[in-house]
């Protein structure tokens, strides 16, 4: 008699062998996919990290190559010529360079009659791919290695802005990841202790977090980065900055983790696990952590853009990374004075790069947060 019961239940489809077999991560993915903006953000984000990985090839030149004959050169737009007999050709217009008789500044004017042909996998500045493989090909560039082209113009020293943005992505996007990784460890550790044990450890940790959050961040950054010795190399400085960022950044994640632990501890299924005889480790790692992993990932994704912005802000103020290191913040430092922006507005393009990636990451974070709990009714 019992065997026949509940045949009327509409939810359990006995004829679909796949019903109810989807793992939690598949359900998260299904829900995330419906969030169009988040999917678009994810694509942009993946593209950005693809650029980071292959910066040397994708950049048309070296980020540090100086061209004193072309300072503040305007962007040269890629144009397509279909009229030539030998098929489709890409080219940019060259420019005529004059000197201002009074200030001796270089004045570049685009000359529509000059054509510089563009090819793919052009020969250019030589480099070591990932510091290992020597090569000199670039995805796109001038067909004639002697004739330089600047798709997004040049800066004060005649360095290619486009190449610098691509190389700057490497530092700017990885500083976020490393910083978040450090604050992830700190946040998970302290948040976990706080939420699982509650009581006195919780009180102490929460008061520390409140203290850290009450410190105005900008002056703290300034003070800490002023403390970084100026004779440290760019790499050391980079690590010092990431550490500074994450020492403050872990508090938010710790709060998320603590909140999840506190609410999960009271959940029936966690109580059930306790009654089933599970030890503390099994309860934490088999029942509680999987239930909050997607929330944690979501808040991590939201934390990365914060780190990127922090680095940009610090470097912009001249207290983060400094040239010769290349990051988006360092690039924006070039655009610090009104005159530079007036004569060379393309120096602000790194800001667009920051904007696009940060937006994309925020969308991804939003989407993840919404799909983090696929069982919410």
């Amino acid at each position: 008699m019992l065997m026949q019961s509940e045949h009327t239940s509409p939810q359990a489809d006995d004829f679909d062998p796949e019903a109810g077999r989807a793992s939690p991560w598949r359900l998260v993915w299904r829900k995330f996919r419906k969030h169009k903006l988040a999917v678009a953000g994810a694509i942009v984000m993946l593209f950005a990290y693809f650029v980071v990985a292959f910066a040397e090839i994708l950049a048309p030149g070296s980020p540090s190559a100086v061209d004193e004959r072309h300072t503040y050169a305007p962007p040269q737009l890629v144009q397509v010529d279909l009229s030539w007999d030998n098929g489709v050709q890409l080219y940019v217009n060259g420019f005529r360079t004059e000197r201002d008789p009074e200030t001796f500044e270089q004045i570049h004017t685009i000359d529509p009659r000059q054509r510089v042909p563009i090819t793919f996998f052009a020969r250019g500045d030589s480099y070591h791919m990932w510091g290992l493989i020597p090569w000199d090909r670039h995805l796109i560039g001038s067909a004639d290695p002697a004739q330089k082209v600047y798709f997004l113009g040049t800066d004060r020293a005649g360095r290619d802005v486009f190449s610098r943005i691509i190389h700057g992505a490497r530092v700017s996007l990885s500083i976020g990841l490393i910083g978040v990784a450090v604050s992830f460890v700190l946040g998970l550790f302290f948040g976990g202790i706080s939420g699982y044990y509650s009581g006195v450890p919780d009180t102490i940790i929460q008061r520390i977090i409140e203290f850290l959050m009450a410190i105005p961040t900008l002056p703290l950054w300034l003070a800490l980065s002023a403390a970084v010795p100026s004779d440290w190399g760019p790499l050391m400085r980079y690590f010092a900055i990431t550490t500074i960022l994450s020492v403050i950044g872990w508090t938010g994640l710790a709060r998320v983790v603590r909140g999840r632990f506190l609410s999960l501890r009271e959940e029936d299924f966690v109580v059930a696990a306790r009654l089933d005889g599970c030890g503390r480790g099994r309860i934490i790692f088999r029942h509680m952590v999987p239930s909050m992993s997607s929330h944690v990932i979501a808040s991590l994704t939201m934390a990365v853009p914060g780190m990127i912005l922090a680095e940009t802000a610090l470097s912009f103020l001249g207290l983060g990374l400094q040239s010769p290191a290349v990051s988006w913040g360092v690039l924006l430092q070039e655009a610090q004075n009104i005159r530079a922006v007036e004569t060379a507005p393309w120096l602000l393009i790194p800001g667009v790069a920051v904007l696009v990636t940060v937006l994309a990451m925020n969308f991804v974070g939003d989407g993840l947060r919404d799909s983090a709990d696929p069982y919410k009714q």
Binding site: E6, A12, D268, F269, A272, S291
Partner: protein, 346 residues
């Protein structure tokens, strides 16, 4: 007084003596205790082997807290939980440490109220039902799978469901999974905490029958916690009525339903809907006021502000739970003197 039903010779499985659970109310920066929520206040309960004992009362009367104290989900503030082991020995579960408690965790099991919250959505039925087996018995994967398939069959689910996640199932089916988990370790006592309250009425009867069938098969004892007097009448052999943390009346189900001794029981019974429309409804007793706040229990009999029979004595003197007739106890100064209406035999 501590063993009000001792006149019967049946063996007790579990007895509580003065079981109390107070939740402190903390305020301020330093977390000073400013009061106590007396959720369970000195309960003596006796659960005899092989029987179904029901705990009834309005929500907030402490019946779930009591159930959870028995399982040590909550730490009792004071009192004893005397558990009679199969070998005849008696242990006080309230005094045991977590490690010493472990063997008893498999003998006393809990069925949760909410079939949605009590199953980990990230685990398959095999993992959920198999967990107590693997943790306590250390069974291999193959043995676990076989045992879980068996258990699913016992609760009326197809063994093919093993690798499915709970989200594919209806509330009734999930509750069956919860029952299978409770049965996995062959328990002696199962605490069913509002086990059918969250289910559709149509599914309720199936689950109740399932519980009854299982009891017959494996000689189980149930502590059946419910606010639904209709369900309790169907399930229970004995009933204990609770009001703000105390037991106010106990007795065999039929006798208690037919001839209540406590005015509160009478009021509760008058609210039971009668499914037979041909019989004219008996008069319903509508209690005045709200259930007393367990952090500010009225002086005297906790029920006196709502009681129609209350007299001066009730306002000052706390009535003890005393035996009125053989097998029947009540905590009312006038128990046995009042003429209280029960439910007519159908």
């Amino acid at each position: 007084m501590t063993t009000p039903l001792a006149s019967r010779e049946d063996t007790a499985l579990l007895e509580t003596r003065g079981l109390t659970k107070h939740f402190p109310i903390r305020r301020g920066l330093l977390g000073r205790t400013v009061g106590q929520v007396r959720a369970v206040d000195g309960v003596d309960l006796r659960i005899r082997s092989g029987r179904t004992v029901a705990l009834v009362g309005e929500s907030g009367c402490g019946k779930s807290t009591l159930g959870r104290c028995l399982l040590r989900v909550y730490e009792p503030t004071s009192g004893e939980i005397r558990y009679h082991r199969p070998d005849g020995g008696v242990v006080d579960l309230a005094a045991l440490g977590e490690r010493a408690l472990k063997p008893y965790r498999s003998e006393i099991r809990l069925i949760f109220q909410d079939p949605f919250a009590s199953l980990n959505p990230r685990m398959t039925l095999l993992q959920i039902v198999g967990e107590p087996l693997r943790v306590n018995l250390g069974l291999s994967a193959a043995e676990t799978e076989e045992r879980v398939a068996d258990l699913l069959r016992r609760v009326g689910l197809r063994p093919e469901y093993l690798h499915r996640y709970p989200n594919a199932f209806s509330g009734g089916q999930r509750q069956r999974v919860g029952i299978a988990r409770a049965l996995a370790l062959a328990p002696r006592l199962v605490v069913a905490d509002e086990a059918v309250s969250a289910l559709d009425v149509s599914i309720r009867a199936q689950i109740l029958n399932l519980l009854k069938d299982i009891q017959e098969e494996s000689d189980l004892t149930y502590l059946f916690i419910s606010h639904d007097l209709g369900v309790v009448e169907y399930m229970a052999d004995e009933v204990s009525v609770m009001y703000v943390g105390r037991v106010v009346e106990t007795g065999d189900t039929d006798d208690l339903y037919g001839r209540p001794l406590h005015p509160y029981t009478e009021a509760l019974l008058s609210a039971v809907p009668d499914p037979d429309p041909s019989r004219r409804r008996r008069e319903r007793i509508v209690l005045k006021g709200e259930v007393a706040d367990p952090s500010r229990i009225p002086a005297g009999c906790p029920f006196h502000p709502r009681c129609f029979y209350a007299e001066d004595r009730c306002r000052t003197e706390i009535p003890a739970l005393r035996e009125i007739r053989p097998g029947r106890t009540a905590a009312c100064h006038f128990a046995g003197e009042l003429d209280l209406k029960g439910v007519e035999e159908s």
